[in-house]
Symmetry: C2
Subunit: 798 residues, 2 copies
């Protein structure tokens, strides 16, 4: 076949093709071979793994792109990483990391010789070995394969604030059907060509998913072209199944797009012009399972969905399959690629970049290596004055906003705040005193706080916020995600995958810890009374606590100062998922800053000032057993704390002799046994706080069952009675919301009366009063449309 | 201002504009007014609600579309419903339902007079009244506002198999930024113009979200036009802020698109040509908060994000605001719109369609009215023979596939199966003996089972599958969604919203029950050993059980026959979310069909054939107390059942005197108290099954804490020891997976030894043997890459 015209000389073409053959050979070897890694002898069934697990279909395309990225990296000294949407293509990325030496550097037992090759092949998708997907174990990856949809958001997250970085992001045509991916093309409206790096999306159309074609491969190319232009890109199409022609065409296109990206950046930076250019992208259309078996058992395999996993699989039962595998492996001519020792031949090793320019060794893909502490102002400077507990009001998140503003100012290139159009709604608007929203679409007169170089990322997509932030953290930076509590469930599955990444990477020595993923969940269930039922769901906490205890932290600061203390702690932490739940509405301040710090540090504690179960001389937790309470009023969350204190006030007035202890929980994981969670408290301490046998009325922010789940092993568990959100809500008043869920002060008093038999004759009257008070509150609300003033303006009288 | 050219005569224009003014007036009235609904007296502060909660910004646009839809419905006798993406626009939809009389029909107290108007206004977003969003309470709605992203998928779901239905779907430009919405434009590749109805998407660009502009409103119109063409639509642009011009232009475009849809359908149906046409869609660009206050307190409100909620809000404190509100209300000239009694004037009432042609009264928007039972074949005909328990193998989902195939055949227009490209992978391929995948993109030689009129909906987007199915169910049809267990979390938040819809509509008398949403979660955590950690997550069960007990059902059938029985039950049920978890790999059959039916009907029961805690004469549950077991081995899920039986086998051999009771749970909700869930069993029955004081070793499919949460109130709870998935996984063998999570047979035996002190001298030796067996199993696996044959081929010996 005559050479196609293109930028590659015959020798370059021959060598890049050989490099691709080597990567493909190593990929097939990983999927199949236990032994005989260089085919130095005839292939026998015992050389082949008994269970064949892996995905071939996407791999040759990934290898092609890798080889051509290597070429332009070397030619242009690019600083590039590779984000692999088709995460099934694990063997290809392992193969490339091995070919360029990184793999042996981080896993010294996988040597660059025949013995190492044998181990490389054997470990893949093998018990005790490595996963079959692009996984944390693979150097160069910031992106686990498996759940699809996040390649582009991760890529953009990596590119933000990395002006010299080029992120090559391969989007599989299966992944392209997902919602998150479909939205994430619009990330180009949030990227500043002056300040940020570049993302080169390569839409790889191999045409098939597991069992059927893909949508984007089956619409006319003109329609696909319009779609990409509509998304704001300049598409370059490369289509083919003849390797040489594709090499030439792809090389030409790669040269063009790399030059175009350089031109865009030069122009933007020379003139300080951040306006959004039509960034180039590539549509690469090549056969699925390219270069693999064409026809197996009479059915077309290459170029169809049948090559998705293992294209020829009956190796141990069918001699023809064994022969087909051997033909396939030999088709790459491994004897030309690897020398007698099993090393890649010298003329090919030079095709990879060297040192940190290797995509598998680029430190951006091991973000912890680049991570630096945030410069944090002293959060105590933002404290609200609290002369007496529960007498003044703050909007806790607004107080936090001032702190976050100064964190932003002090860290102008390594900190971003994400939020789905809710930053101001969530009272974090102080951020806009120091920065703007990132926005690289049209800006018109009258727009506020929009700029291409803004550092608050707002888009009405929790998926994009989450994906950008993950990409940003995974490449060694810091961030903060504020979200309406109910809608954070939109990213449940993304959180799962990130939690799995964190869990796995804790045990990979060469992976350095990254900054924690910090959530502020606000506009929460108890103050979504105006948006109603659809906005009320506190279940994200339940979701995250199923993940590994070592990476999950949940905080429910009850007021502004505790929120400041918790937020500071979270911003300093590493490799966790921190969930902070805090309200944005005016709410009582309970603790002055010093007390707030102490309380947050303990995570859980008796609020002596609200308790009367001991004398002033013994106001310490350890002395509590001396003055055993009649009832423990526990609370976690700002609204439960308010209702608990109000209930305690009522109890005090009606039952002055009743010994009431108030326990407040900031760090929810304290409730678990210390054997289950690093923050868990000992049974002795739990018993000291909650007693061994007194009733505990526990007012909790979320679904009440979680408290039972966390405490079921505790001594006094059978006496713990939990109130929380029981999935009752609508558009109504704040107090009606707590009444609908039996979390209101009057009901908490009823709960105490029901569980403390010693209250005497007055109890029946008070019980009746409480029922009447609930009826009165509801009647007033339904008549006047507001809560009774004495309820909504209630303050703690002590 | 001279009239723009257009299809409306001056009189038509005047009247449609008056109708729009009426809807806008009623919308503003709902947001603001407690009294004085017709402005018959000067507006005073006491006429205005004390809390102003609602969203004005999107409402005038929704009202405009509604009025113009009414016009084309009447002109063409269309059968149409209205799916409202901008769900905040509740007041507009209520206003229109009221104007056309439906509202008073379903809520007779809201009369069509001044008194009714007063009640209509007062109830909106008011305690004891109706939510502020497009909610289940609103006739004509199939779509709760709040969480955004699902308007188009719901619309397509409604259109499937409804050839005469036109679904007008308004997509807000905020919603358009979400992932699910971005992907759902591609739904046109899954719609058959011959068989299905039509969706008319109207992208309503009012330019702003809560606090900032929207992406699609700030890209050049040419780019947006390309985007829509790339998605496969023919866009028509209507832009303006002058009402008369917009009326004329919009009317002209509506005439064009309705004619174009009719032409497409005529042509497709006349020639039986299902090929995908470029369906028309409309881009409507009008100001946010159009016709509302232009400037308030010196800031531009109309046409900006400041009109998102309540544009002038200090009514009670600021006389100027009160005056502005009064001017605003008067600007609609209510005295021309409503007669002396407060009724819409006669010349306007005729602008609405009548009877079921009213979008608010269309029965498709109250799907339960149209719902008919499925024609179900007898599921017993698909039973696998089970002569002896645990001696033969089936792939449970493959057996189910045969049943589903015949359900599909028997219900050719009212049943669909959804799956993200996993129908064959999940062993439901028998469906393709009777239908194909729905596919209206290119089909090429070699493609299997693709057709425009296919009834299996496969796309690599759980969001689309879920949204289509919701739309299909909400309009009165049936469906079944099979999904990889781990990735169903992708739709956690959609499930929340659907659960809320079901919960709320149970208490709305005129809403008829709809078919249940049935999930089959397969390729589950214990048999995702080949895809690894990213594919392993059983937490969806935890997610759904937070929703209201009255609508949640969770089933863990242990084998093929129980799966058939459960599936039949779920397909007959109404208004539930049914979650079925079942494996697809070859697994033991335990129960013949009669026993399977009995077991599933009970939901939980002792497996006498596997137990030895009583003599053959007393093989009934109630007799169990006669022969108290030494240990109860409980199991829920196919793999836990296998491991439990294997452990019982080991126990029998080593401790023949040990009395072991095996309890299997199919219906997980049985474990809850009967006070908590309708399927919950009484404490007496629970104690009879689990004893009051014997150790219970509970092998569970998912996260073990859930079992504690469900049983914490039970007598014997402190003796329940649960094994389940503890978030340990990777690419390894099936048995290694259960070992990593301590759910394996050997560990269950160890658990028994640890908890039954009476086992005597042999216990220490057996304990040691079990540890050795685990080491041997792991060593073998790491050496050979497979499980030891005696483990993977294990069968129950009794």
């Amino acid at each position: 076949m005559p050479l196609s015209p293109g930028p590659l000389s015959p020798d370059e073409l021959r060598r890049i093709h050989a490099y691709w053959r080597a990567a493909n050979y190593l990929s097939v070897g990983q999927i199949y071979l236990l032994d005989n890694p260089l085919l130095r002898e005839s292939l026998r069934a015992e050389h082949v793994k008994p269970r064949l697990l892996g995905h071939w279909g996407t791999t040759p395309g990934l290898n092609l792109i890798y080889a051509h990225m290597n070429r332009v990296i070397r030619a242009n000294d690019l600083n590039a990483i590779y984000v692999i949407g088709p995460g099934h293509g694990g063997p290809g990325i392992v193969a490339n990391a091995y070919l360029e030496g990184t793999y042996s550097e981080v896993y010294p037992s996988i040597t660059r010789d025949a013995a190492g090759l044998r181990r490389l092949f054997r470990q893949f998708s093998f018990p005790g070995g490595i996963p079959s997907h692009v996984a944390p174990e693979i150097p160069g990856s910031i992106h686990e394969g498996g759940e699809l949809g996040y390649a582009l958001t991760h890529a953009f997250g990596a590119a933000f604030d990395n002006p010299d970085l080029l992120v090559c992001a391969v989007v599989g045509d299966g992944e392209a059907e997902t919602g998150p991916l479909a939205a994430s093309w619009h990330s180009n409206k949030f990227l500043d060509p002056v300040r940020d790096g570049a993302v080169l999306p390569i839409l790889h159309l191999n045409g098939y998913k597991i069992a059927q074609p893909t949508v984007l491969a089956r619409i006319p190319q003109a329609e696909l072209d319009q779609l990409m232009r509509g998304y704001g890109y300049q598409p370059f199409h490369v289509t083919g199944d003849d390797p040489e022609r594709v090499h030439q065409r792809f090389a030409a296109v790669m040269d063009t797009v790399v030059a175009e990206i350089a031109r865009i950046q030069r122009q933007a930076r020379a003139h300080g012009d951040p306006s959004r250019p039509p960034w180039p992208m590539i549509v690469l259309r090549t056969p699925k399972g390219w270069t693999g078996p064409s026809v197996v058992d009479g059915a077309q395999v290459e170029g169809t969905w049948r090559s998705h996993q293992v294209p020829v699989a009956q190796i141990h039962d069918n001699p023809e399959h064994l022969a087909e595998l051997e033909r396939w492996l030999h088709s790459y001519r491994p004897e030309e690629l690897f020398d007698a020792d099993g090393r890649l031949v010298a003329e090919l090793t030079g095709l990879a970049p060297s040192g940190n320019r290797r995509m598998s060794a680029n430190p951006h893909a091991n973000g912890g290596e680049l991570l630096r502490d945030l410069a944090l102002p002293d959060f105590r400077d933002y404290a609200v004055e609290v002369a007496n507990p529960a007498t003044t009001f703050s909007e806790a998140t607004r107080v936090l906003g001032g702190f976050l503003r100064d964190v932003m100012t002090a860290n102008p290139t390594t900190f971003r705040v994400m939020g789905p159009d809710e930053t101001v709604s969530n009272r974090l608007g102080a951020l806009f005193q120091t920065t703007s929203r990132a926005w690289n679409a049209q800006i018109v007169d009258g727009d506020d706080d929009l700029a291409p170089d803004g550092r608050v990322m707002e888009v009405l997509s929790e998926h994009l916020c989450q994906g950008w932030l993950e990409g940003y953290l995974l490449t060694g930076r810091h961030g903060f995600f504020s979200c309406y509590e109910a809608f954070i469930h939109i990213v449940d599955s993304m959180v799962n995958q990130h939690a799995k990444w964190l869990k796995t990477t804790r045990h990979i020595p060469w992976r350095r810890p990254i900054a924690s993923l910090n959530y502020l969940l606000t506009s929460h269930v108890w103050r979504q009374d105006h948006n109603g039922f659809s906005h009320q769901d506190p279940g994200f906490i339940d979701h995250v606590v199923n993940k590994k205890a070592e990476i999950i932290r949940v905080y429910l600061p009850p007021d502004a100062n505790t929120l400041l203390s918790v937020a500071d702690h979270c911003l300093r932490s590493r490799h966790y998922i921190n969930v902070i739940v805090a309200g944005k509405q005016p709410a009582l301040n309970y603790l002055p800053m010093d007390a707030a710090i102490a309380h947050c540090t303990r995570g859980i504690g008796i609020w002596d000032w609200a308790s009367n179960d001991h004398g002033p001389a013994s106001r310490s937790e350890h002395a509590a057993a001396d003055g055993m309470p009649d009832v423990v009023m526990a609370c976690a969350g700002d609204i439960p704390t308010l209702e608990t204190l109000a209930a305690v006030d009522i109890l005090r007035r009606h039952f002055p002799d009743l010994k009431v202890r108030v326990v407040n929980i900031v760090d929810l994981m304290c409730l678990q046994p210390d054997s289950e969670h690093p923050h868990g408290i000992s049974n002795a301490r739990f018993d000291a706080l909650f007693t061994a046998d007194r009733p505990v009325i526990f007012a909790y922010h979320g679904y009440p069952w979680l408290i039972h789940r966390l405490t079921y092993r505790r001594t006094n568990h059978t006496n713990i009675h939990v109130r929380g959100y029981i999935e009752e809500g609508t558009t109504t008043t704040p107090f009606d919301m707590v009444m609908m869920n039996n979390l209101d002060r009057f009901h908490l008093v009823i709960d105490v009366i029901d569980r403390v038999p010693s209250l005497g004759a007055r109890a029946a009257h008070v019980w009746q009063d409480m029922v009447d008070a609930r009826i009165a509150a509801r009647t007033y609300t339904r008549d006047f449309g507001t809560d009774m003033p004495e309820i909504s303006n209630w303050t703690w009288p002590y």
